[in-house]
């Protein structure tokens, strides 16, 4: 059998057009394209792709069904391992996970696993295929904190095992980072996220919004007063970090979290909504991760000239290759090997520019990446009216400071074991960004699955 060397290309919105709208960039495969791409899968006996998947989807299994045109069966196979396939097909870093391990990828382009997963999930949604609710529950109540990727996954897995699960969400909409963080043009909210959350609810999971655990009610109260026998904490990343440089509190300096929350969760881009946003004419986004790319591409769509300011070079950018590629296509300017040293502020307290210094790469540091070093005397000024800081987050203390006997590490992240999500407190499990610090949707989902397994072992041995 001869393998077609390249992936079946996926249709995308033209960069010039999409730079001015919030519609989805990638248009996905048709059934014919998906079946054609599925032909490229070798159906390996010892599939490396599965070991590359944090939730261990039976990848060759579902791809064989796609090859034969049995999309409903394919969706059932994916559904056994993942509660959010339409989300994962869009935002997983496949190049470093399943597709990174694909055997076909050694000599050719790997099988386009992510796009196939997305096709199957979208097809199932369009054809109204819903997961089946268990016939009856086992009578055990479990609370899940946070309705982001880890919480939804954990809740979905537990519900399938028969548990009565309630998710508590602090914000007014469920979805966590899928709703407040990742923009509409990468992950449509009404079209993709909401139906996947509905699928979790269809399994019997209840979601109570507007409950801030640690404030509205504590974990101890959930266990002692509300009859929950176990708790999974999937509360997410936390407080945005800033650089600590002069001028950072000026008007017009935002965290990426604020900028994205205003636009995504609060829908500032849509004039029907009351939320204000500063659009800016010339915007700098400081940082090089996926969140930075999201903020940059959002500012671009709101009409600004956008510069990504990053202290290392392009090859060290932590963002997915696809995101960087899309950002460039759309017209985002990359000022690499550049580091801000001061935000320049006008007499009214607004940003008027940013003083930066050029960097060069020195010896590798602890992370294995070459350390950026300042080039003496290379300071220069960028004229700007808006700065978006995208430097990561530090853990939110709300839960750890109000839960008796819950240990945190030096970085204030909750300590939980990787395979079962077990914390220092009996009956309390945790996973996702609250444990690891900011990471990816799929890693959080993997941790949600581990937590569900841990809780099931704990409650069934009681």
């Amino acid at each position: 059998m001869v393998i077609v060397s390249k992936k079946v290309p996926v249709r995308e919105q033209d960069p010039k057009v999409r730079a001015t709208n919030f519609d989805e960039v990638c248009l996905g495969y048709s059934k014919e394209e998906a079946m054609q791409e599925a032909e490229r899968c070798l159906n390996c006996k010892n599939p490396k792709c599965v070991s590359g998947c944090p939730v261990s989807i039976d990848i060759p299994g579902f791809i064989q069904e796609v090859k034969n045109g049995n999309i409903e069966q394919a969706s059932k196979i994916i559904g056994e391992a993942s509660a959010l396939p339409a989300v994962c097909g869009r935002v997983c870093p496949q190049e470093s996970q399943c597709e990174g391990k694909c055997i076909v990828g050694i000599k050719n382009e790997p099988v386009s696993i992510g796009k196939l997963e997305r096709f199957v999930a979208d097809w199932a949604r369009e054809n109204n295929i819903k997961p089946e609710r268990p016939a009856k529950t086992n009578g055990h109540k479990v609370a899940v904190i946070g309705s982001g990727p880890s919480g939804l996954t954990c809740a979905g897995d537990l519900a399938k095992m028969g548990y009565e699960v309630t998710i508590f969400e602090a914000l007014h909409e469920p979805g966590g980072v899928l709703v407040y963080g990742i923009p509409e043009f990468r992950l449509p909210k009404a079209g993709v996220v909401a139906p996947e959350i509905d699928n979790v609810k269809a399994l019997g999971v209840e979601i109570e919004t507007d409950v801030v655990i640690g404030k509205s009610i504590t974990i101890d109260e959930l266990l002692e007063e509300e009859g929950f026998e176990a708790v999974f904490i999937g509360s997410g990343a936390g407080l945005p970090m800033f650089m600590g440089i002069p001028g950072e509190n000026a008007n017009g300096v935002f965290s990426a979290n604020e900028y994205l929350t205003r636009n995504n969760l609060m829908k500032a881009f849509d004039s029907k909504y009351a939320t204000p946003i500063i659009t800016g004419k010339k915007v700098a986004v400081v940082g090089g991760g996926n969140v930075a790319m999201d903020a940059a591409r959002t500012a671009l769509r709101l009409g600004a000239e956008v510069h990504v300011v990053y202290r290392r070079s392009e090859s060290e950018l932590p963002a997915r290759v696809e995101e960087v590629h899309h950002a460039k296509e759309e017209g985002v300017i990359f000022d690499l090997l550049t580091n801000p040293v001061e935000i320049l502020v006008d007499d009214n307290g607004w940003v008027k520019g940013m003083k930066c210094i050029r960097m060069e790469l020195g010896e590798p540091d602890e992370s294995g990446r070459r350390r950026p070093v300042e080039i003496a005397g290379s300071e220069f000024e960028l004229e700007l009216d808006t700065v978006i800081m995208s430097l990561g987050t530090s853990p939110n203390p709300l839960i750890s400071s109000t839960t008796k006997g819950l240990d945190v590490n030096k970085r204030k992240c909750i300590i939980a074991d990787e395979t079962l999500g077990k914390t220092s407190k009996e009956g309390v499990y945790a996973g996702g960004d609250a444990v690891t610090g900011a990471a990816t949707v799929i890693l959080a989902m993997g941790a949600g699955r581990a937590g569900a397994k841990g809780i099931h072992e704990f409650l069934s041995s009681k």
Binding site: L171, S216, F242, E258, M266, S271, P276, L398
Partner: protein, 296 residues
């Protein structure tokens, strides 16, 4: 949905509502705040808690109509609902964490300005319930703008009311009353809690610093989620940048950078102005300001 079980206009443009929110009513303490969302397209509006009834499961909020969102909220009646009502958020007042016996030996002064009377009230009431009489200064622009007078009379030890225009009781700013009590009458206060407009808190703090009177203020900066996620509410306190929603809203007033905080409060002023215009002009609104793109 969170039902409004009681709604009334306290005075011109200041409204009081009791909202059914059992989880919040059960766990809230004086000094904390809530976030309300009116409807599907509404903003997240932070409001301090004015009172609560744990048995009835209700929380009392007081707000002044400032932006488009609060103007819309003012139209809600008894029986209507807020789409969302989240809380309690922020830290409780430090007073309630203190040992009651040592608190009883303290002479406490509250300074409330305008709608800031609302968040002062639950603290004064809490102290009263624990057998402590605190002195309270309430400042209002005019007699018409004064709120919660009867409630405050019941809860406070001595109540001093002052109006900017002299239309009721004393005439002048709250700072003049503080000077009168401390310098003329020689009352020795151990601590002061001042809540009101940013500019009032700034001038109270300038004065109490001179008087060597430790002062706590409650800040109400712009915020989005109110749980520590967005960082919009950052304020400089001493050498540190704090998030008002998780570290506050109460801070040591002598360390707060009020000038920066006041500038930050203005951040969305022009956006808010446009929203109000849109609300007032209704269907006839077509942009025209050159910024909102309404003419595109």
């Amino acid at each position: 949905m969170f039902e409004i079980v009681n709604a009334r206009e306290l005075t011109n443009n200041i409204y009081l509502m009791d909202v059914k929110a059992p989880r919040v009513a059960k766990s809230c303490e004086p000094g904390q705040f809530v976030i309300v969302i009116m409807d599907e397209t509404g903003e997240r509006v932070p409001l301090t808690i004015c009172d609560y009834d744990r048995k009835a499961g209700t929380v009392t909020i007081v707000f002044q109509t400032i932006g488009a969102s609060t103007q819309m909220m003012a139209k809600l009646k008894k029986g209507d609902s807020f789409k969302d009502f989240v809380g309690p958020l922020g830290c409780a007042s430090e007073l309630i964490e203190e040992d009651i016996e040592s608190l009883k030996n303290k002479k406490i002064l509250f300074v409330a300005g305008g709608v800031g009377t609302a968040p002062v009230y639950p603290q004064v009431k809490w102290l009263k319930e624990h057998g402590i009489d605190a002195d309270v200064i309430v400042g209002a622009k005019t007699k018409d703008m004064l709120i919660l007078e009867d409630e405050m009379r019941k809860a406070a030890g001595n109540l001093y009311i002052t109006t900017d225009d002299g239309s009721y009781e004393r005439k002048g700013m709250v700072t003049e009353v503080i000077k009168d009590l401390v310098q003329n009458q020689g009352i020795k206060y151990d601590c002061c809690i001042a809540i009101g407009p940013m500019i009032m808190m700034k001038f109270v703090c300038l004065l109490t610093k001179e008087l060597d009177l430790p002062t706590i203020v409650s800040l109400n900066p712009i915020m989005v989620d109110g749980t520590g996620m967005c960082g919009a509410c950052r304020v400089t306190v001493g050498d540190e940048v704090k998030f008002a929603c998780v570290d506050g809203p109460e801070f040591d007033g002598h360390l707060v950078n009020f000038d920066e905080a006041m500038k930050r409060q203005q951040m969305y002023k022009s956006e808010e102005g446009r929203e109000i215009l849109k609300l007032q002009e209704g269907d006839t609104h077509h942009g025209g300001c050159g910024h909102c793109g309404g003419e595109k």
